[in-house]
């Protein structure tokens, strides 16, 4: 059970990390890691490249933010409702997108996500360019005050683990088997009697809901929901995170998200801030050209060849 040991080590690391690093930064990493994992479920295991996942991240964020400001609901309910909202939006997007394949699938998701972006830009409840600021974190179950960053971090960690577990389970479920079969040979799956579009759709909905969960959580962490999260840049960033970490590997997106978020954080503070997009672009090019299987994919190859 090597895997089990590795997971326990990682868990211990995650539990101890906030004593060394700034908890809000760590929480941010976890939110993006969950976002990337959700995206990877679609790209890596169903072979579907969505270019509109920001719409779900942002929707989760806005719904949760709005509810926290205006409704007096407890954070766990607000997050749940944000997640459901993202899932519902995903159900609509998915219905339209799975009918197309390849680049057309990506274009449909991009177009729909842009539609959502302009909706949030214009809608009065999002405060347009300003976003929802000063979102209260509230108290978990009405009992545990989340305003302390340390407490918030551990709450995010629990959410992340739950989301990560669900993705892992989905991949290793009877449904996941069919999904992989569809990715491998769609016509053959059809000829065995599987309505492939139904399976793709369900994968899309799960992925969208988990992306929204990441967005909802992120809004609580930063006490902010803004247009950045629904912008198409964000849809591109999650692709980058997944590719750098290793598409189709379970842990890859987590590493990829950690890598990209860390890089952004350090670069944007220093004098390199103006070059951040150039550097990210370079990373992307290097990744695609020389290690297409990403960090984790590369490590696994190394392990196979040397042990």
């Amino acid at each position: 059970m090597n895997n089990m040991k590795l997971n326990l080590c990682l868990l211990a690391l995650a539990l101890l990390a906030p004593t060394l690093l700034y908890p809000v930064f760590l929480a941010k990493v976890l939110c993006f890691a969950l976002f990337a994992c959700a995206f990877n479920l679609l790209l890596g295991f169903a072979g579907l490249l969505s270019f509109g996942h920001a719409a779900f991240l942002g929707t989760g964020g806005y719904v949760t933010g709005y509810l926290m400001i205006h409704s007096g609901l407890t954070p766990e309910v607000a997050i749940l409702l944000g997640t459901i909202a993202g899932g519902l939006l995903g159900a609509i997007f998915g219905k339209l997108a799975v009918k197309r394949e390849g680049i057309y699938f990506a274009m449909v998701t991009l177009a729909l996500a842009q539609l959502i972006f302009f909706f949030y830009l214009q809608a009065p409840f999002t405060n347009g360019e300003d976003g929802l600021q000063g979102v209260p974190r509230g108290a978990l179950f009405g009992l545990i005050d989340l305003s302390d960053n340390m407490v918030m971090y551990y709450f995010v960690l629990v959410i992340f683990i739950a989301g990560y577990w669900l993705i892992n389970r989905t991949i290793h479920s009877p449904f996941g088997q069919v999904l992989k079969a569809i990715r491998e040979n769609e016509d053959r799956a059809t000829s065995l009697g599987y309505d492939v579009n139904h399976y793709k759709w369900l994968a899309f909905v799960i992925s969208a809901a988990l992306a929204a969960l990441a967005g909802s959580t992120k809004t609580l962490v930063f006490e902010l929901a803004s247009l950045t999260d629904v912008h198409w840049h964000m849809s591109g960033e999650v692709i980058l995170m997944t590719l750098v970490g290793g598409v189709g590997t379970i842990f890859g997106p987590v590493l990829g998200a950690g890598f990209i978020v860390t890089m952004q954080n350090y670069l944007s503070g220093g004098e390199m801030g103006n070059y951040i997009h150039i550097i990210m672009g370079a990373v992307f090019v290097i990744c695609v050209l020389s290690f297409r299987s990403g960090i984790v994919g590369q490590l696994m190859k190394f392990k196979r060849n040397n042990f």
């Binding site: 669900l166 389970r169 989905t170 290793h172 479920s173 009877p174 449904f175 996941g176 088997q177 069919v178 992989k180 079969a181 491998e184 040979n185 016509d187 053959r188 799956a189 059809t190 000829s191 065995l192 009697g193 599987y194 309505d195 492939v196 139904h198 399976y199 369900l202 799960i206």
Partner: protein
Amino acid sequence: MTQPAQDFILETRNLTKAFKGFTAVDDVNLNIQRGHIHALIGPNGAGKTTVFNLLTKFLQPTSGKILFQGEDITPLKPAAIARKGVIRSFQISAVFPHLSVLENVRIALQRKEGNSFHFWRSEKILNRLNHKALALLESVGLESFANTVTVDLSYGRKRALEIATTLAVEPELMLLDEPTQGMGHEDVGLVSDLIKKVSKDRTILMVEHNLHVVSKLADRITVLQRGAILTEGDYASVSADARVREAYMGTAADDVDTKQTAEVAS
């Protein structure tokens, strides 16, 4: 005089597929008798694969009807037709390359379990299908490759796996698109024996170029030419037909025997 309708497992009525300005399948009336191995032959571009695509609804017919066990299945979607028991193979071997050989067969067995949308359950519940999957692999001589990643199998074995996978869904009618295409001599023998073996209690419609295989296997042969049926009958009567010789071989009768021998020998 009139045969009872249930004798035919699959019938097409005036099946036609027209692409822009080109009729690929022209007014085809097929009658596939239950229990037969029925071969569809004809020169390249005669529309054989298009017929397959129409029968399984991977293509939409322009006009005409498809009846399966007397029921009109023309409006159904491909997956629904598969669930009726009409399972096709493809010209290029249709396997799931990065799944194990066992998993390939299990995917086919899994559908009837009704848990294929269960994303919250462990795939371990599929292990109860392993026994059945192994038995199917054994029937095509692949049991020792159960844990091999499919991409590493030889071409002939991939085709055998494909047949095992098809058998797993217990098809009433198997549609095999050029099952021996691109195979070496040995594999051809292997696969045609396999087809003979699995044809018991089943109906098979196959497109095949290798006339030797056709002569060995087929109970009935339909010859297509430019999308239309040229003739139909058993091997002896079809191969004696001068029009077939000319259409299929593009040569006079004398040449055919030498050509055919050459094909058998190759």
